[in-house]
Amino acid sequence: MYIKQLSVFIENREGRLDDVLEILKTNNINIISLSLADTADYGMLRLIVNTSARALEALKNNGFSASLTDVTVVRMPHKIGQLQELASLLCKADINIEYMYSISIGQDDACIVFKTSGKIEQFADQFKKDGVEFVTQNDIAAMVK
């Protein structure tokens, strides 16, 4: 149901993003998607990677404040109005979206990553009936060739 997202706290200092990416590279970790939310002093780097547990360990060993966060990933076709449909389903279920970003994987479809305030699993079956396609951790791993 949920995918493990890697969340990393980084100060707005020169080279910090580079440091994170360097650590991931050295540890042979593939980044599938990322988003950076920033404030004046610091940023929150959110990543979907092929092996999140190993990435977390590598970053922690290098002194970063990082954690794994449960996020939901759904696949949807590249068609107008798809995202709006998803948003409206969540809205009806009274689930708030804390943040979202996308994974672009192909010509025909895309994946949306989002974190919700409420539990989404109780609505999972209903959403599936409504045509929402949930992406699993295995699907994520398979995105890397």
Binding site: F9, I10, E11, A37, M44, F64, S65, A66
Partner: protein, 432 residues
């Protein structure tokens, strides 16, 4: 356990009697052996005979660090130099170092006082104790070392600087007790956590001193390491560590009053204040031969209580320090002590004391920024949560010091760690 029950549990009358007899002798000795003191007393119109007991203490002039500097290096020593067996010196951040000297008997009394302190902390000859203060001119290392040896503990003289070796030996030697600064102990705890050694060590007791720390900091150290921690106090001018130490009840630090006569004075009027009133701590040494001090102003702010402690000791207790007048910062006209920031941060659930105060001046206005490390326990992937954390810290600090501060969250382990005295302030203001 009480190391010296006769002295540590005597009645107030007996103690006053002993202190009076020793004060009369000390005054007589400095008058005759130290020209500097004789001049000061003569200027105050005093002769040794005017001091008949501790009730006359207020007649005597104060001594300050300036007096020690003026008589650098040995001008206040009260014995022939051949009697001196040891010197220590404090690093002079401003001006000259202050030099202290000890006779063989002074060293004996020092190790007696430290043994009392360590016994008060529950340490016995069965313990294996790492001394992780700096050894050298600083009194911490050798002072604690002699005391622990006197007690009969197995001493591991680590000194500071090699934490990796310290934690390895802590595990390999089954070390049960440690003496170091509180900030260094926090650093040691972090290293133990990182190396997954926390459940492998046998540490039971820590006796920490040489820098101010809060009761909350003690509780955090105790919880993190699963030990009992005690606060030991001393200053090199008066002797070194072991002038006072707290007991398991943590209701103030017992002063070894048979050797050091404490007073609390109002730092502005210089008049004595009553029991439980905060003021500056002043000591007169009662048995010191090498460097006796008359009414030495410590600059430490505290209060005193003469009630009998639950531990059975009758020794007066001084409260945890409210700060040092030396460390005091004046920001936008408000007196601020770093210890207030520390206490405020610790009162917030789960916040560790790793912070840095950065004081600057923009135009004519002072600014205060407090950098706080974002540790795992309050990590969130949501910016909103982190912003709430900043706000909460800002609020707690404003309540504590009455000033608004900019809170900046920084990555863990980015603020300077010290193995000696903790550095928590960067003052960028240039005084005009």
């Amino acid at each position: 356990m009480i190391w010296n029950e006769t002295k540590e549990c005597m009645s107030r009358d007996e103690m006053s009697c002993l202190q009076s007899a020793r004060l009369v002798k000390t005054v007589d000795r400095v008058y005759h052996n130290v020209p500097y003191y004789r001049n000061k007393m003569q200027q105050a119109g005093l002769e040794p005979g005017d001091i008949k007991g501790i009730e006359d203490i207020n007649k005597l002039p104060y001594t300050t660090k300036d007096d020690l500097r003026e008589t650098y290096p040995f001008g206040l020593f009260a014995v022939p130099m051949s009697e001196i067996v040891r010197t220590h010196a404090s690093s002079g951040t401003t001006g000259k170092a202050t030099v202290v000297g000890y006779t063989r008997r002074d060293i004996d009394i020092w190790k007696e006082c430290v043994a009392r302190a360590f016994t008060q902390a529950g340490i016995t000859r069965e313990d294996r104790m790492q001394i992780a203060y700096g050894y050298g001119l600083f009194t911490g290392g050798l002072g604690a070392h002699y005391g622990a040896e006197n007690l009969g503990a197995m001493v591991v003289p680590m000194s500071t600087g090699n934490t990796k070796k310290l934690v390895t030996m802590m595990e390999d030697f089954d070390v049960t007790a440690i003496a170091c600064t509180p900030s260094y102990l926090i650093h040691i705890a972090e290293v133990l956590k990182e190396t997954n050694q926390l459940d492998k060590i046998k540490l039971k007791t820590a006796v920490c001193g040489a820098e101010p720390w809060t009761d909350n900091m003690r509780k955090q150290i105790e919880a993190d390491l699963g030990i009992h921690a005690f606060d030991i106090y001393g200053l090199s001018e008066v002797m070194g560590p072991g002038v006072a130490c707290d007991c398991i009840h943590h209701k103030g630090l017992h002063v070894y009053e048979d050797h050091f006569l404490p007073e609390i004075i109002d730092p502005t009027t210089l008049q004595p204040v009553g029991e439980d009133v905060t003021g500056e701590l002043v000591f007169t040494t009662l048995t010191k031969e090498g460097l006796p001090l008359i009414r030495y102003r410590t600059k430490d702010l505290t209060s005193i209580n003469y009630g009998k402690c639950e531990c059975g000791r009758t020794l007066a207790r001084i409260n945890r320090f409210k700060g040092r007048s030396d460390d005091m910062l004046i920001i936008r006209g408000v007196n601020v002590f770093p210890s207030q920031i520390e206490a405020a941060l610790l009162e917030m659930n789960g916040t560790t004391p790793h912070y840095m105060m950065i004081v600057d001046r923009q135009g004519s206005l002072d600014s205060l920024e407090i950098q706080v490390e974002v540790e795992e326990r309050f990590f969130s992937d949501e910016i909103r949560e982190l912003e709430n954390l900043s706000k909460q810290i800002g609020h707690v600090i404003q309540n504590a010091i009455g000033l608004a501060a900019k809170i900046k969250l920084v990555e863990p382990r980015t603020l300077e760690r010290s193995e000696g005295k903790a550095k928590h302030v960067i003052d960028k203001r240039t005084l005009v």
